[in-house]
């Protein structure tokens, strides 16, 4: 037990991933079994490492004692400085948990790739990816952090393009690579400005330098961090890579990317605003809230209009990141106006939703992976009736859908409820600007939650209910137990984290307080009766009684009705068909389910529709031979933002090409001129 709190355990953990990644490549060479052994090796060591990570973070959180140590390197100004404090341990734990379950899932999922793709290579990048994910929250040195951050981006890029026989994956990977480096540039700007202001790359020195940085520099640092990490978190309009890259990766990697990789960016935002440079002005909080409102509402609208099950889930990640940002932004706002208790409360809401989203989004991605495995397609229009063929997957997916739509007593409700409360508290503030922004946020959140319910009725209904719409869906088979087990655990966690909301909130508050920023560990709500009442209820958040009551009333009414009607028969017959034979075309599809909502929000979604009609007689035009309608959504971000930028870049590049004459003499002249200019500059300075 004590071993878990030593640096040795952290190093052992990374040793597991190292052996897992490098070993798998060799194993693949040794055995000629289509990569089966290599896959087991890679996933096995990833599982071991993740379990150790889980144990470490649990013991850090439980004993309230961090781990910090430094490894020297040969480079000056570059230290391998590790720091696993309470808040890092929280994220470390989430990452470990999801990676452990994803690795178990991988045992079953890998047979997908036997003989087609090289599982040794997969295992190499898979282990590297998890190791870098785990490095990000504990790296305590800017350059070391950037190394981990880059490793994470590169490793996940190779996982996105792993199925490289599909062209769209390569495209998605390229977009991802581009966007993630766009983000990294801003992260670097933030880091180097912080270095310039504090004279150190050590995060500890940044913490100590609080208050010595000019507001302007601090503002630029915050802005750069928000753009840089926001790109990774997928805030709108920097999200465009997310719905392309997350679905392209193998499903358990999608779960890791959507469930935890975006969280590392949120973790760093938390660090920047509350740990490194606390005391951001109020406006930053309001900006974060507005970004969150926009991402939440637009994210769920895009998810609703999507027919590809994994893209839908990726857009829903954008939505949930928005909800987390609402809590984070409320925290920044409250902290800046000196309401530390409220800040603590809002941050607890944000962290709770972070945890919950990691759980249910991984669950849904794993479920989607099973469905894709069983049917061979990601198109929801081709599913239907899978609940009878994949009963367990369907059950777990239902739990995930209920949790993400925030229904009591599941965990999504608890965190969304807390987020609502922090917005309600902010709404009663005296400042007009705060009031207005929080009003917008409440409006956005309530529409978001309503639309999320519609979105997941559609997802679950179109995938699992009614009759199969294609042959593939008709012949689907339940997936292996390796794939069901992690889904089962995640579904159980969704429920447990809901009914134990009180304990979770108390622990989260303790974790946030443990970084030593916000003084009062117990909440104090001095404002009004209204806030007091919300706080009282939050202190108990009795989801377990609601679950118990609902269960009891359900059993009572079920029992009574069964008793009254026990002698009545049930006849099973065909669905009423109005005289037309029941076929797959008679059922509602995913596209038609969301059509009415898409029509209502057409101003935002901009649906396009192309129809081609062919007539038997072109002159008469009475009898239609065939008709084809294509509906799709236009992408305003690419058209409006990214394409113009691309055009400008292309223009600049073509202008710059003029100096590349290909003549060696010319290049020597350039060198000479550069030298002269540098010499002149050096003598002047």
């Amino acid at each position: 037990m004590e071993f878990l709190l030593t640096p040795a355990s952290v190093l052992l953990l990374f040793a597991f991933f190292f052996i897992g990644s490098v070993g798998a490549v060799f194993i693949e060479r040794l055995f000629s079994d289509n990569g089966k052994m290599a896959g087991f090796w890679g996933h096995g060591f990833a599982l071991l490492g993740s379990l150790l990570g889980l144990a470490i973070s649990v013991s850090v959180l439980f004993f309230g004692q961090g781990i910090a140590f430094t490894l020297p390197t040969v480079f000056p100004n570059f230290l391998l400085d590790f720091r696993l404090d309470g808040i890092a341990a929280f994220f470390f734990g989430i990452i470990s948990l999801v990676s452990a379950l994803a690795s178990i899932y991988g045992f079953g999922y890998q047979k997908h790739f036997y003989g087609k793709y090289r599982l040794g290579v997969f295992s190499f990048f898979y282990n590297a990816f998890i190791a870098s994910l785990l490095l990000v929250p504990i790296a305590n040195h800017a350059l070391f952090f950037l190394l981990a951050w880059e490793l994470m981006s590169v490793a996940s890029y190779f996982l996105v393009v792993f199925e490289n026989q599909k062209e769209e994956n390569i495209k998605a990977g390229f977009l991802y690579f581009l966007m993630t480096h766009f983000g990294t540039v801003f992260v670097m700007i933030a880091f180097f400005l912080a270095y310039k202001a504090t004279g150190s790359f050590l995060f500890d020195d940044w913490r100590a330098a609080t208050g010595t940085i000019t507001p302007l520099i601090q503002g630029i640092i915050f802005g750069a961090a928000l753009i840089g990490f926001g790109t990774k978190a997928g805030i709108i309009p920097l999200h465009i890579w997310l719905p392309e890259a997350h679905p392209a990766a193998p499903s358990h990697v999608s779960a890791l990317m959507s469930g935890v990789m975006v969280k590392t960016a949120l973790f760093m935002l938390f660090r920047f605003f509350f740990d490194f440079f606390p005391g951001a002005p109020m406006e930053w909080g309001l900006v974060i809230i507005l970004i969150g409102s926009l991402s939440a509402l637009l994210g769920i609208l895009y998810a609703l209009s999507e027919n590809d099950i994994k893209r839908l889930l990726a857009f829903s990640t954008v939505e949930n990141v928005g909800i987390i940002l609402l809590g984070l932004g409320a925290g920044v706002t409250f902290f800046s106006i000196g309401l530390e208790s409220f800040a603590l409360f809002s941050l607890a809401a944000a962290l709770y939703h972070t945890l919950n989203h990691a759980i249910f989004k991984s669950l849904l991605f794993l479920g989607a992976g099973s469905v894709v495995e069983a049917t061979g397609t990601r198109n929801m229009e081709s599913y239907g009736g899978l609940i009878k063929l994949l009963p367990f997957t369907a059950g777990f997916f239902l739990v995930g859908s209920l949790a993400i739509s925030a229904f009591p007593p599941f965990n999504g409700f608890a965190s969304e409820w807390l987020t609502f409360q922090s917005l309600f508290i902010g709404m009663t503030s005296a400042e007009m600007i705060i009031k207005v922004v929080f009003f917008i946020a409440i409006g956005s959140l309530v529409f978001t939650s309503g639309l999320a319910a519609a979105c997941f009725v559609k997802t679950f209904g179109a995938t699992f209910l009614a009759r199969p719409r294609t042959e593939e869906a008709k012949n689907a088979k339940e997936v292996s137990v390796f794939m069901l087990l992690p889904m089962g655990i995640l579904a159980l966690l969704s429920f447990l984290l809901g009914i134990n909301a009180t304990t979770v909130v108390a622990s989260l508050i303790a974790i946030i307080a443990s970084i030593g920023l916000i003084r009062p560990v117990t909440l104090q709500f001095p404002f009004s009766e209204f806030i007091q009442a919300r706080a009282d209820f939050a202190a108990i958040l009795p989801l377990e009684s609601i679950a118990l009551l609902l269960g009891l009333v359900f059993l009572l009414s079920f029992g009574a009705i069964w008793f009254v009607t026990r002698s009545r028969k049930i006849v099973v017959g065909p669905t009423w068909d109005c005289g037309t034979p029941l076929g797959p075309r008679g059922e509602i599809t995913s596209g038609s389910f969301s059509r009415s909502l898409v029509t209502i929000f057409r101003g935002i979604l901009r649906p396009t529709r192309q129809s081609t009609v062919e007539y038997h007689d072109e002159d008469m035009r009475y009898f239609i031979k065939s008709q084809e309608i294509r509906t799709s959504m236009s992408d305003p971000y690419r058209k409006g933002i990214y394409q113009p930028i691309g055009v400008v870049l292309h223009f600049l590049a073509s202008q710059a090409r003029r100096i590349q004459s290909g003549n060696v003499n010319m290049y020597i002249l350039y060198l000479f001129l550069t030298l002269i200019i540098l010499l002149l500059w050096a003598t002047h300075v």
Binding site: W417, T428, A454, K458, S557, V572, E587
Partner: protein, 320 residues
């Protein structure tokens, strides 16, 4: 005594809800110069349905079989958590922690109703009929847009009453001066629109027909029969009564008794609640007799109006 009250609280809404439906139907019949069926006809209908055998589609899964029970149970739970004639939290004598209080938080109520809608829509899709699917699609459209008006109107009440629990809200409101309740009048309008939308009444949906292609609620329960249809109908009646009770007790809280001790107080409160509910039910029936159903894509305008009214009410009540 408390145990008795507990059972009373549990049963009062399902016991009276068919009467509410019967009353609306009676008023509508009278306004159409018909005698109409007795106000107790819905009870007879339910009894009849419970006596019948059931036909279940071969395409339906356990969702279809399970949903009616869950939907019914949710309405019972919410019905037990709201103030009916007295704004008093009730707990069991031998198990004091076992109380309906937690489910009375207004956000919990909204989300429990959303959970009910979720399963209603799923069971509509489950049989694979075109009617059910489109009913579900429309239901989710209406529900997603109606939630905002519902939340903002209840939030306005919550802010004014300085509490989040509907039971406590009714109690607190009674002590407030009349002018403090002014924003609630606007919130009431927002709530009424949400009420009509959530309960599939005019002008959003027509509760009386199976023939119209724009039907919403009836389309979803088209494949249900026997006891499951009875449960669905009963749950819908419960939901309507819960909304009516919330509307009269939250927005016009005067007269609701604050204890179960005084018999005369309870009598007055009962009479007042029944009277106010009857006026509201009459209003709904009047509305249904005098206006036409909206085209489906005009419904969002109405729901947006409800949202805006809710925002205005809240804005006024937090600046007070």
């Amino acid at each position: 005594m408390n145990t008795l009250l507990f059972i009373f609280q549990l049963l009062i809404v399902p016991a009276l809800s068919p009467l509410g439906i019967g009353f609306i139907r009676k008023v509508k019949a009278r306004m159409q110069n018909r005698v109409g069926a007795s106000v107790f006809q819905p009870y007879r209908d339910l009894w009849k349905l419970f006596q019948k055998d059931e036909v279940i589609s071969e395409d339906a899964s356990w969702i279809f079989r399970f949903s009616p029970y869950l939907i019914f149970a949710i309405t019972i739970l919410i019905g037990a958590s709201i103030p009916v004639i007295a704004a008093v939290p009730v707990a069991l004598d031998f198990l004091p922690s076992f109380s309906f209080l937690p489910a009375g938080d207004f956000l919990v109520i909204i989300y429990l109703f959303a959970l009910m809608t979720f399963f209603l829509a799923l069971s509509g899709m489950d049989t694979g009929s075109a009617f059910g699917g489109f009913g579900s699609s429309r239901e989710m459209m209406v529900a997603a847009l109606a939630e905002a008006g519902l939340l903002f109107s209840l939030l306005a009440v919550s802010v004014t009453a300085e509490s989040g629990n509907v039971v406590a809200m009714v109690g607190n409101l009674q002590y407030l001066p009349l002018q403090a309740l002014f924003p609630l009048l606007i919130a009431f309008l927002a709530f009424i629109i949400a009420l009509l939308a959530e309960n599939a009444r005019f002008p959003v949906d027509n509760p009386a027909t199976h023939l119209e292609l724009t039907m919403i609620h009836e389309a979803m329960i088209l494949e249900h029969s026997g006891k499951r249809l009875a449960l669905m109908e009963w749950a819908a009646a419960n939901k309507l009564l819960i909304f009516i009770l919330l509307a009269v007790n939250l927005f016009f809280p005067w007269g609701v008794s604050l204890s179960y001790d005084s018999f005369s107080g309870l009598l007055v409160s009962t009479l007042l609640v029944v009277g106010k509910s009857a006026i509201l039910l009459f209003g709904i029936a009047f509305l249904e007799s005098t206006m036409a159903k909206f085209r489906i894509f005009r419904v969002p305008d109405l729901l947006l109006t409800s949202f805006v009214l809710g925002v205005i009410a809240l804005a006024i009540s937090i600046t007070f």
